[in-house]
């Protein structure tokens, strides 16, 4: 099937017609000059970007299919403009063997809404003690390159060092959930004056920063690359900036919610605002925006974390950590980074597609919009706005912190290697 996008604006620049055929971009030409395709898409006024790549997605399958499945999670991904997601390993059973990662990968192929790249666990059962068979996962059909115990920190410095070294053999990367466990026992929210007032156990910034500092030094020492998951504090941005200036091979991601929400939402005691790492202060929000703008932070990653309704409709301490993110990520980035003049559309493509694809070593994602390149693309309407209705999201769960909020920019169409997965804002 051939598709022609009429008058699309690549990276928000001059309008062109773009023809997609056989999975690649077959032609780019002045508006009105290309012959008709099997599918014509009126893209006037729409911005064309490479399909978004999420480094950090919880699809919950296998194990918690009541909260999300690979089918529902990847529908949400496609609707959010993503053409690839990295499925985190903290499933039940944990994705710590070739068998589990291949199952996740195959279910992703069957669902067909976007590429699903399983993340392999670093340690067996996320236990932090024994390395999982990282090589077997790398060599499997799923070709795992990103390894993470996300949800749990690889806190033992020796295990972390060995993992960093070991994955060099297949160009893998360890994605660290930076949380010093002893400093965060029972932690419920950011530690500060507000946690003291609310009587909620604090999750201090230093617990994140101390691990990041240790891990960039370890990565430098053993000559490996390291990726920092969901960095959330001003101090973390400083440490990564320092490490990059020293030539250390570190990359980092920030979540959409840490770009916009602050800890004061905890005063509602509503667990829909409970997330790990916790929402921080206004100063931290400004620092992560700054870091994303100057490239210290490489990527926006959703940390899409669906939870069953009963795991959020309860008291704060009993609530699960995590928020939905796939369908709101692009809008939050537009709101916080584009509208504020911090990023242009090429930068958005860089932080939400090009760099995450490079970190995950995905060959045909995050590619330039050019003839001959893979036709995984997203078309978005920058002038549109929409109101978040939790029940209207594709996810099985409803735990979005943005319920009722009006957000800018809407995904109109998503193409996975030339095939539409979303058209007119709905699943194709």
């Amino acid at each position: 099937m051939s598709v022609v996008l009429r008058s699309a604006r690549p990276y928000g620049e001059e309008p062109v017609d773009v023809a997609l055929e056989n999975g690649v971009i077959a032609a780019i030409a002045a508006p009105g000059t290309l012959p008709a395709g099997d599918l014509e898409v009126d893209a006037a006024g729409l911005v064309l970007l490479p399909g978004l790549v999420d480094l950090h997605t919880h699809l919950r399958e296998p194990g918690r299919e009541d909260a999300e499945t690979i089918e529902t999670g990847t529908r949400a991904a496609a609707l959010g403009g993503f053409t690839a997601v990295h499925a985190m390993a903290n499933t039940q059973p944990v994705a710590d063997t070739a068998g589990v990662v291949e199952m996740v990968w195959r279910r992703g192929v069957e669902a067909g809404h976007c590429d699903v790249h399983p993340v392999g666990a670093v340690t067996v059962g996320l236990g932090g003690e024994h390395l999982a068979e990282l090589g077997a996962m790398a060599d499997s059909a799923a070709r795992v390159r990103v390894f993470s115990d996300d949800g749990v920190c690889v806190s033992d410095p020796v295990i972390m060092r060995r993992a960093l070294e070991y994955v060099k053999a297949f160009d893998g990367v360890i994605a660290q959930h930076a949380q010093e466990p002893r400093l965060t026992q029972g932690a419920q929210m950011n530690e500060g004056a507000l946690s003291g007032l609310l009587g909620l156990a604090g999750w201090p910034a230093v617990a994140e920063e101390a691990i990041i500092a240790r891990d960039v030094l370890l990565a430098a020492h053993v000559g490996s690359r390291v990726h920092i998951c969901h960095l959330s504090t001003a101090g973390s941005v400083d440490i990564v900036r320092y490490a990059k200036a020293r030539g250390i091979d570190v990359t980092a991601e920030v979540t959409p919610h840490h770009l916009i929400l602050t800890e004061d939402l905890a005063a509602t005691y509503d667990p829909v605002f409970k997330v790990n790492p916790p929402l921080r202060t206004e100063a931290d929000v400004m620092a992560v925006r700054e870091g994303l703008e100057d490239g210290t932070i490489d990527a926006v990653a959703t940390d899409h974390a669906p939870h069953a309704h009963e795991d959020k409709d309860c008291e704060w301490a009993a609530g699960a950590f995590g928020m939905l993110g796939l369908q709101t990520a692009l809008s939050i980035v537009v709101d916080t980074m584009v509208r504020t003049g911090r990023l242009d559309w090429r930068d958005v493509a860089d932080r939400m597609s090009v760099r995450p694809a490079r970190i995950g070593r995905l060959g045909d994602q995050g590619r330039p919009i050019a003839v001959g390149e893979s036709a995984s693309l997203v078309l978005l309407d920058p002038a549109a706005s929409w109101t978040v209705d939790p029940t209207a999201l594709a996810s099985r769960s409803r735990n979005t912190p943005f319920a009722g909020r009006e957000l800018p920019a809407r995904v109109v169409a998503t193409f996975l290697r030339g095939r539409p997965t979303v058209l007119d804002g709905a699943l194709a």
């Binding site: 004056a193 007032l197 005691y269 009993a318």
Partner: protein
């Protein structure tokens, strides 16, 4: 006043209304028949997810003296481990016709959640939530202090101990400062929350200095197991540096009083001599707790004095 969730929500006028109402209700306690018809036909549920015999029986006594029907529901252990959620428990109680729920819960904010989640429509009274607040304890402490010291404006009150984990300290720090008192918190630095400098009180690590000329001292319970988490090295060292003994009690002003919310660790944060001494008002606190809780239930259930022809019926109107 629909709910009582936290002392930070109370204005000075709110607090004085509760305390003055409690003073009026306290007169009932002196009668042979300690009962008023005020809340007849209303149902008060005591929902206790945490053991607390003294707070529970105090609320029971308060509700019964106002002629309310009282249902006590003890759901020991966490709602999660028990399988039934806070929400379902609350829905059940509401379905039984509760007009007010008095809730004690190990999770900070659980009463706030009950009051604001839309699960139930009844009034919610916080009887202690996690390490957040215990507003009726602070109100009974303020009531006791006012009985001995009069107006608290400018009075120096020292709160000593595990402020970090203490809902009593949080509620008192805010309420007493709202009432005009000068509050000083004294604790080892490990047992003070981050950000305590933003609280409306002074902070000191030196108990002797803080006690000099103070009008009242409130000792907080310190759990022995805190020692195992390195909050302090040993009970002996804690006691030496932060315990109230006879020598330290002598540093207080002449008419000063000693409070403790109970249960006490005698020999740890307070010596037996002081606990049983002339300055101790610890037993009075318990008595006053009933009056203060009567006032709170009366006010949240909206039984305004004018509807009843005066808060206290004439003595002869009470069946003898």
């Amino acid at each position: 006043m629909r709910h009582l969730l936290s002392t930070t929500d109370l204005t000075r006028e709110d607090a004085l209304l509760i305390l003055d109402t409690a003073a009026e209700l306290a007169r009932v306690t002196d009668r042979a028949v300690k009962k008023l018809p005020t809340l007849r036909g209303r149902t008060v549920v005591n929902l206790f997810f945490e053991d607390s015999t003294r707070t529970r029986i105090s609320f029971e006594a308060a509700a019964k003296r106002l002629s309310a029907d009282v249902i006590t529901f003890s759901a020991k252990g966490s709602s999660v481990s028990k399988g039934e959620s806070l929400k379902d428990t609350a829905l059940t109680l509401e379905a039984m016709g509760a007009d007010a729920v008095v809730v004690r819960h190990q999770a900070s904010g659980a009463p706030y959640r009950l009051a604001h989640s839309g699960w139930v429509g009844c009034s919610v009274v916080n009887a202690g939530d996690g390490t957040h607040e215990h507003p009726t304890q602070a109100l009974l402490d303020a009531f006791t202090l006012r009985e001995h010291l009069g107006d608290l404006q400018g009075r120096r009150i020292v709160i000593v101990g595990d402020v970090l984990h203490s809902r009593v300290a949080r509620s008192n720090a805010h309420l007493l400062s709202t009432l005009g008192a000068c509050v000083t918190l004294v604790a080892p630095p490990t047992l003070l929350p981050v950000g305590v400098e933003t609280w409306p009180c002074a902070v000191s690590y030196d108990l002797d200095e803080a006690l000099e000329g103070a009008d009242a001292v409130m000792m907080l319970r310190v759990q022995n197991e805190r020692m195992n988490a390195a909050f302090f090295p040993s009970t002996h060292e804690y006691s030496r540096r932060y315990g109230l003994d006879t020598r330290r009690a002598a540093l207080l002003s002449d008419d000063a009083v000693v409070l403790h919310p109970g249960p006490m660790n005698r020999g740890m944060e307070i010596s037996a001599d002081v606990a049983d001494g002339a300055r101790s008002v610890i037993v009075e606190q318990v008595t006053n707790g009933v009056s203060v809780r009567m006032a709170v239930l009366y006010l949240v259930l909206g039984a305004r004095a004018e509807d009843q022809g005066g808060l206290l019926p004439a003595a002869e109107a009470v069946p003898a």
